[in-house]
């Protein structure tokens, strides 16, 4: 089993072959942590660099991340607890009234690609359900999205509900969506705002460290 093949498989977003290559590595006796770090993660790092430099489009980055995720699923049972440690846990959803999930899905995929554990609570989620999810899952980060001007006020409602439940200082809240701005994020007391999915990953990394 050549690790380069696995790296290239992620770079090429070759979804059809990733599972077989990881299995081949395991049966060839390659250490699972090596398959993870020097295979899958290395591949995604290469893609990440190309994406940062503007050589790749978002769908290409995303397809590579999905390929890596598939590989990790195969690998997971073979990894120790330490090896499966994530960059952090994120609960993510769109606020009440908003059924637009593309942006949210995109951020979720990109966060997963960056090593976060993402718990997707779906669309059109009432504030009380979001509070409940934060209570139960205890994430470091809560990601909220609103696409429409009409649903944007629900971002504030949700943050206010977290305050009322006494959970506001237990979780960092990041917000996004086309009509949302940094000023608005500040105004409603969010911890961060990003204008696009790649920015959301950078933001999440920063929020976890702070």
């Amino acid at each position: 089993m050549e690790l380069d093949k696995l790296v290239q498989c992620v770079v090429d977003a070759d979804m059809d072959n990733v599972k077989g290559l990881v299995e081949e590595g395991i049966s060839d006796g390659v250490a699972p942590s090596v398959l993870l770090k020097e295979g899958l993660i290395k591949g995604l790092d290469i893609v990440g660099e190309k994406f940062e430099s503007g050589d790749l489009f978002l769908p290409e980055m995303l397809a590579a991340a999905m390929t890596m995720k598939t590989g990790v699923e195969v690998l997971k049972p073979h990894l120790t607890g330490e090896e499966t440690e994530t960059a952090g846990t994120v609960v993510i959803g769109t606020v009440q009234g908003d059924v637009h999930d593309i942006g949210k899905n995109l951020v979720a995929m990109m966060l997963e690609g960056a090593g976060f554990e993402v718990i997707d609570i779906g669309i059109d989620v009432p504030a009380e359900d979001i509070v409940k999810a934060v209570e139960e899952k205890k994430p470091q980060i809560l990601g909220l999205s609103a696409l429409l001007t009409t649903t944007m006020p629900a971002l504030k409602t949700t943050i206010d509900a977290l305050k009322e439940a006494g959970l506001r200082d237990k979780v960092k809240v990041m917000v996004g969506g086309a009509p949302v701005t940094q000023d608005y994020a500040d105004e409603i007391g969010a911890d961060g705002y990003a204008s696009d999915a790649a920015g959301a990953v950078t933001l999440a990394r920063g929020l976890v460290q702070s």
Binding site: F51, G54, L56, F57, L58, P59, G97, V99, H100, I102, G103, L106, T149, T150, T151, M152, P153, A154, A178, P179, T181, D183, Y184, S195, D196, A197, A198, G199
Partner: protein, 481 residues
């Protein structure tokens, strides 16, 4: 300005390709169908011969054919404003409207971007009263200071109170729809219908009709208020990235909308509103200044004509966040393409930054861009008189073109565009006049026009005022718990 138009002249696609998109859309409707949340509606569609599989309704082509044939009979109507201004809507006219519910605005005094409020809705509506190229306002900005639940309704109320033109409202839930009908009915004359405006309603992409939307549709469409069907997927995210694929999906969504409307009230006029747009595919952020916005709108106009629908399209869209050359070329290209292709209803007045930031100055600049586009799309007379053989003959004998009656006649008839806002002289004159860019000229114009509107404004009759207030109070009582 409403004007009778000659035959559309731009065909990005030939008739056969238009037909091919139509066939693809029929397949989408028949094989994939639409997701309909309302079980009763699914049953009604099933009664009309559709296959219902779970929450999906697969629509048979014959029904679509009947619906299209019926829609053609209702593609001509007149809107009348509170003050009596009329806008004719049919396949031969081109009508303009503004963008809607933009969340931020460039403050007219400070030049800083800030959240919009109720006062901005009022001021921009009054400014739009005075723009001679703008036929119908939407609430250009979103009143952030008002509750979300009744926001669309308040937008319509403010338009009714302050606009002297027919209005373009929106509804995305049944409560809003219910009170919107009440507001519209205040202007329903006794001898025949007087429509103060129309309502835009959007399903979700791909191919999804949530219950709130079909409930809103039922109320508005049953009331006979003309509805603009707005299908707005983002290519590459909620529709195929390829323009043809995006259009096939949009067309399927609009035809499905028409089918659902047909169930509620086959008499209600429908507008065909393909609003396919695209993103910066490196960040995923939608940007509206791409030329593909205009290309998709142009083909959308062709599709509408193919069916006999009045079309309602994106027009002056821009990604630019400032009053620079980019804002100008993006808006011009994206407006000109659908205009030349036979669009009937064109949007985009007042928006910058991919419709996320509004501007007073931009409203006035867009008025000028629209005038230019309209002139470029108007064509010109080709006949013996226009050839001006005699003028030429007299010039060759030493006469002057400039002083010839033929020249004066054509000048007076508007053969050559006369800019109203744009600079129309030479560099030295530009320097003499203070090196103003068009934004500076627009600022001055905004002040003038707002003053003028104040002088011309007529207060609502106290009776009407009372009725509107009452409807809004009832709405608030029901919707704001």
């Amino acid at each position: 300005m409403t004007e009778a138009r000659a035959n559309p002249v731009l065909k990005l696609l030939d008739d056969q390709k238009i037909e091919q998109i139509h066939v693809a859309s029929l397949r989408i409707l028949q094989e994939l169908g639409i997701k309909v949340d309302d079980a009763d509606l699914r049953q009604q569609l099933s009664d009309l011969g559709c296959d219902v599989v779970g929450d999906r309704v697969k629509i048979n082509p014959d029904l679509v054919g009947d619906v299209i044939a019926n829609a053609k009979k209702h593609n001509r109507f007149t809107l009348t404003s509170r003050t009596g201004k009329k806008v004719e809507m049919n396949l031969e006219t081109v009508v303009s409207h503004s963008s809607n519910a933009i969340p931020d605005i460039i403050d007219f005094e400070t030049g800083e971007c800030r959240r919009t409020n109720q006062d901005d809705v009022i001021a921009t509506t009054r400014l739009m009263n005075q723009l001679d190229e703008l036929d119908m306002p939407c609430a250009l900005v979103y009143p952030n200071d008002l509750p979300a639940e009744t926001n669309q309704l308040k937008q319509a109320e403010l338009l009714i109170r302050y606009s002297t033109k027919p209005i373009y409202a929106t509804a995305s839930d049944p409560n809003t729809a219910k009170y919107l009908v009440e507001l519209f009915n205040l202007f329903d004359g006794t001898d025949g219908r007087e429509l103060i405006g129309l309502v835009g309603i959007s399903p979700e992409s791909p191919l999804y009709f949530p219950k709130a939307i079909t409930d809103a549709m039922k109320i508005i469409i049953s009331a006979g208020i003309p509805v603009s069907m707005l299908s707005a997927p983002l290519g590459g995210l909620s529709a195929p990235l390829s323009i043809a694929g995006g259009l096939a999906q949009v067309n399927a969504e609009l035809l499905a909308f028409a089918v659902v409307s047909y169930v509620f009230n086959p008499e209600t006029p429908l507008l065909y509103g393909p609003r396919l747009f695209f993103a910066n595919m490196k960040t995923g952020c939608s940007i509206l200044g791409l030329p593909e916005t205009g290309i998709a709108s142009a083909v959308g106009a062709q599709m509408a004509l193919y069916y006999g629908f009045v079309s309602d399209l994106y027009g002056m869209c821009s990604t630019s966040c400032t009053y620079d050359t980019q804002s100008g070329y993006e808006k011009a290209i994206n407006c000109l393409l659908p205009f030349l292709s036979g669009a009937n209803y064109i949007s985009g007045f007042g928006g910058l930054a991919s419709l996320m930031v509004a501007s007073y100055e931009q409203l006035v600049i867009d008025n000028e861009i629209y005038a230019n586009v309209r002139k470029a799309a108007k064509g010109f007379a080709v006949n013996e008189d226009a050839f001006g053989f005699d003028v030429l003959a007299s010039a060759l004998k030493g006469g002057m073109f400039l002083a010839h009656p033929h020249t004066v006649k054509y000048l007076r008839n508007g053969e050559v565009f006369v800019p109203d806002l744009g600079f129309d002289s030479v560099w030295s004159d530009w320097v003499k006049k203070g090196k103003k860019d068009i934004q500076a000229v627009a600022r001055e114009r905004v002040n003038e026009l707002l003053k003028k509107d104040e002088q011309e404004s007529e207060p609502l009759s106290s009776e009407l005022d009372k009725e509107i207030t009452k409807i809004m109070e009832n709405a608030a009582a029901e919707m704001l718990k």
